[in-house]
């Protein structure tokens, strides 16, 4: 598994997918937080971590599929999956390797974001950066990002076309992130159902985390999502013919 992971990380670097994802993330963040007048810290004259994380969660929705779509579908399209399947490794190793290699680039994004936050907290004179809120938000970023990675891997087991995988990943990711929240806002539904549906959304849990609260239920929910997505991907791969 270790050597599969090394290969997958190497591929993400050589094919430029990983660096492009990281650079795109920070480029868009920079544009929104420092250049575009509607959202720029400079226009507000006030820097807060909330805006960054709100933007970061949505950006992950688009950035994560960039990292994952080239993975499994490329292995199938190029026929390299035959090499992998002829080796003493199983589908769980293949999936975990794809998952972890993408998560490593997610971690790079988070580590670089921490550095950005540290710089911001140093240059601002206000107390806009609450330590616990920021830590909670970073945990949320990691969990939501990992859930998107697992979801994108699951989607890529269904489609051999990378473009379709990319679009479907974003759509389903959006559904899981804030789509349930929109459904919950439909007032004709009974209150109990609305609350239940709202809690299925990742945004609902991310809001808790960004307040510096770490509810066990939120962490369990997000971990469960990751496990369910990867398990479904495993089931699909076992049935998929090479």
């Amino acid at each position: 598994m270790k050597y599969l992971l090394i290969k997958d990380i190497k591929e993400l670097v050589i094919q430029m997918t990983g660096p492009v994802a990281v650079i795109t993330f920070f480029l868009i963040c920079t544009l929104f937080l420092w250049v575009f007048p509607d959202t720029s810290y400079l226009s507000y004259g006030y820097a807060s971590s909330e805006l960054f994380f709100e933007l970061a969660y949505y950006l992950l929705l688009f950035i994560i599929p960039i990292l994952t779509i080239g993975g499994l579908s490329h292995e199938f399209n190029s026929g390299n999956i035959e090499i992998i399947k002829s080796l003493p490794v199983n589908w769980i190793h293949v999936l975990l390797s794809k998952f972890l290699s993408s998560c490593i680039f997610l971690l790079i994004i988070i580590v670089m974001s921490v550095l950005v936050m540290l710089v911001l907290s140093e240059i601002t004179v206000n107390d806009a950066f609450d330590f616990y809120q920021t830590i909670g938000s970073f945990i949320g970023m990691l969990m939501i990002g990992a859930a998107f990675v697992a979801l994108s891997i699951l989607v890529s087991t269904f489609f051999s076309n990378s473009a379709i995988s990319f679009i479907v990943s974003i759509l389903i990711g959006f559904m899981f992130y804030s789509g349930f929240g929109f459904f919950a806002s439909i007032e004709v539904l009974p209150e109990v159902i609305r609350r239940s549906v709202e809690s299925w959304g990742l945004l609902y849990h991310a809001e808790y985390l960004s307040k510096g609260v770490l509810p066990l239920s939120s962490l369990i929910y997000m971990l469960s999502l990751i496990i369910v997505f990867l398990s479904l991907a495993h089931l699909k791969l076992v049935k998929k013919s090479i």
Binding site: L4, K7, S78, N80, E82, I83, S86
Partner: protein
């Protein structure tokens, strides 16, 4: 021991691709697998290599079932027809990666051996993407034998090799077959004939013929002849000749004869044909090639 393939059935979307296929390979050597396009050769090879799981049946190698995935795959080398390779890697880097996954001791030494065996020395430091088709085939073969597998499966391995490379490849396969079971699939009959000891014909999802090649199916003191007469003659007349062990009709007034003693057979045959008012248009030693076996 050896390889046992028992009642393998494989379906793709409810379509039967392999139907109850069974055979055994007990001895080391090269077994050729031939069949038309779509007969199920690649599917069978993938099932034996452990890449596919059959819908029913089982594959065992030296008593180890293919469902014991990791252990089984350590004993199997597989080169696919399309010969996919990780193109962004260097040849040695790719082989080293495979060696690490197979948990080989002394990977570097083994890579050097395999690179020399497959004549890859001049391109070992090159990126795979830069290689010609012939070299890529050799990298595929090197990758499949790197972990010294007990069973080597080669699906159309000579695709893209030039005549010189084919000769070198045949020598390599022959030398490897001393201590390995090798299954080789090819569209080229002469390729199978040149290196295989046995051949299996897969036709329409089932094994329709399984035969040893060479003279092994005819006893060493016997010979096969092809006889052509001007007019057909009852088989009983031939069977009454002592030196003829077996006779079969092969087309109009043409017969395949298995005989014991050459001199007696020719003398008796000539006499019996003449007695029955026929004459011999042709008589020559019959050497079967693959085309005739699978006709």
């Amino acid at each position: 021991m050896g390889l046992t393939v028992r009642n393998i059935t494989k379906l793709y979307d409810d379509q039967v691709v392999l139907d109850n296929v069974s055979f055994d390979i007990e001895d080391n050597g090269v077994v050729g697998l031939i069949g038309k396009n779509g007969a199920g050769k690649t599917t069978l090879l993938k099932a034996i290599s452990g890449i596919h799981t059959a819908d029913s049946g089982e594959v065992q190698l030296d008593g180890l079932c293919s469902t014991n995935s990791s252990e089984y795959k350590q004993k199997v080398g597989y080169m696919s027809e399309k010969n996919p390779l990780f193109e962004h890697l260097y040849v040695k880097e790719y082989l080293e990666w495979l060696g690490r996954i197979h948990d080989l001791k002394a990977v570097g030494q083994r890579i050097n051996e395999v690179v020399e065996m497959t004549d890859l020395l001049t391109v070992a430091e090159k990126k795979i993407v830069q290689l010609s088709k012939g070299y890529r085939q050799r990298v595929g073969i090197a990758a499949s034998i790197l972990h010294d597998p007990r069973l080597l499966i080669l699906d159309e391995p000579v695709n893209g090799l030039d005549p010189e490379q084919i000769i070198a490849y045949r020598q390599l396969i022959k030398s490897l077959s001393r201590d390995k079971i090798i299954i080789l699939s090819s569209h080229l009959m002469q390729e199978i004939e040149a290196i295989c000891n046995r051949v299996i014909l897969l036709d329409d999802r089932i094994i329709s013929k399984d035969q040893k090649l060479g003279s092994s199916h005819v006893a060493s003191n016997q010979k096969k002849w092809i006889l052509k007469l001007n007019e057909s003659l009852s088989l009983d007349i031939f069977q009454s000749i002592d030196s003829i062990c077996h006779i079969t009709e092969k087309g109009e007034s043409t017969y395949i004869i298995e005989s014991k003693k050459e001199f007696n057979m020719l003398r008796d045959l000539n006499a019996r044909v003449f007695e029955n008012n026929r004459f011999i248009l042709g008589l020559k030693e019959y050497k079967e090639n693959l085309d005739q076996i699978f006709e």
